[in-house]
């Protein structure tokens, strides 16, 4: 979801026979629910997978600021503008918590950012869609942050201590994001016919990309099975997606809005909503870099990094000068 299709580099799920003695002891700790900490021994594949997963998650938080930044100067009231700024500041904080967690695994912040800027590292597909109207700020908070919460709450219990602790902080702040989004949707849905139409239009555009955030079905995926064994993935993509649909459809009904899925229906027997086919070719296309905003998002990040270089260097020069004077 915020991390999609994370590679483990393994062709099959490791069984006890495939493991060294150290690996068996490591797996036994995970099975016993003991958290793995930065200085503990861990298999190389676990370390690399976590770096990929956590950094992808961090990149998503940072790139996720961009679609919202689009509306800071055009928020309808000062109150909405202040709330939006606070939310965007939170996203920067979330990125920071996650980069810090990744750094405990022995990779530097600059290496992580370089991987993002070169296009080698991914961020969530969802942030490659444009935010065309103010209602999109509502839909993003409600659907995108709502989906993020569903994904992140289980990760508070994941096996890697620094990641789990970062997730706890993120989750505490994330419900503000989802609620402020729903609050925007409520105002629009109760407003003029034009405002309600704006809310419906935003739901129409964000619904399917939000379902895609969870990634394709991973029932057959070796990477997902291995990540589950390591307890860095606690539920399948389909389970999380189903949870999102089940909790969101009644929220849409309350708003008086229509979910853009003619096949959507409640199954009284299972207690779950059944929903239509997801267009995975669109998802794959966005991942390949051909979504509506891929190029713009990455170019904006790279420009911000490059334009800030003189400042980063100046601060280091200033700190070095002060330290030298203090030593003299």
């Amino acid at each position: 979801m915020y991390a999609q299709l994370v590679e483990t580099g393994l062709k099959k799920v490791q069984t006890a026979q495939d493991m060294s003695e150290e690996e068996r002891a490591f797996q036994a700790r995970i099975d016993a629910g003991v958290k793995i900490e930065a200085k503990d021994w861990m298999p190389d594949a676990y370390r690399k997978t976590l770096i990929r997963q956590i950094s992808q998650h961090a990149h998503s938080e940072i790139v996720g600021q961009l679609p919202e930044g689009n509306w800071v100067t055009r928020a309808p009231t000062l109150k909405r503008k202040s709330i939006l700024l606070a939310k965007i500041q939170d996203e920067a904080g979330h990125g920071l918590y996650l980069y810090s967690a990744a750094e405990t695994l022995g990779v530097s912040r600059d290496e992580l950012l370089a991987a993002l800027h070169s296009g080698k590292a991914k961020y969530s597909s969802i942030f490659n869609y444009p935010t065309l109207s103010w209602a999109d700020m509502g839909a993003v908070g409600w659907l995108v942050d709502g989906s993020a919460i569903i994904n992140q709450i289980p990760l508070c219990r994941c096996s890697y201590g620094p990641y789990a602790r970062a997730m706890i902080r993120v989750c505490k702040e994330e419900s503000f994001h989802a609620r402020q989004g729903y609050d925007i949707m409520m105002s629009l849905a109760k407003g003029t016919p034009e405002q309600k139409a704006m809310a419906q239009d935003a739901l129409n555009r964000w619904w399917w990309p939000s379902l895609m955030m969870f990634g394709p079905s991973d029932a057959e995926s070796v990477n997902s099975a291995q990540s589950a064994q390591w307890r860095i993935k606690l539920f399948s993509n389909d389970e999380l997606r189903q949870r999102m649909v089940d909790q969101t459809v009644p929220q849409a009904e309350f708003l008086g809005l229509t979910v853009p899925d003619p096949d959507l229906k409640f199954n009284a027997e299972t207690g779950h909503y059944e929903f239509g086919e997801i267009d995975w070719s669109e998802f794959q296309n966005v991942l390949k870099g051909n979504g509506p905003c891929n190029r713009e998002r990455l170019a904006t990040r790279v420009k911000a990094w490059d334009d800030g270089e003189w400042f980063r260097d100046a601060m280091v020069a200033y700190a070095d000068k002060k330290a030298a004077r203090a030593a003299a």
């Binding site: 200085k39 939170d90 270089e309 601060m315 280091v316 002060k322």
Partner: protein, 94 residues
């Protein structure tokens, strides 16, 4: 690529007079910026009344390999816990 800003560990004391608690880390060029950045990130919702920042490089930590040397001796000293001493029911306030 330019030199990366050093890593700082951040500790916050919450409202209620408890000890400073580790909350996370961040990069900053010097101590002053580390405090400012910590303020911008960690106590955004009234989480604290005091901030400590320490250069991560200056922290000396035990390693998992030292676990037995550091922590095992306490396993055999169960008498350090009050529950080691059973008290008769009729004796109160102990």
């Amino acid at each position: 690529m330019s030199k990366e800003w050093p890593l700082w560990e951040v500790f916050i004391r919450s409202q209620h007079g408890l000890a400073h608690k580790h909350v996370g880390s961040l990069h900053a060029s010097d101590a002053e910026m580390a405090v400012n950045n910590a303020r911008d990130v960690y106590p955004r919702r009234n989480e604290g009344v005091s901030i400590w920042v320490v250069r991560a490089a200056d922290i000396v930590a035990s390693s998992p390999g030292d676990k037995s040397a550091l922590f095992e001796p306490s396993n055999s000293k169960v008498y350090r816990h009050p529950t080691f001493f059973p008290m008769p029911e009729e004796v109160k306030n102990l």
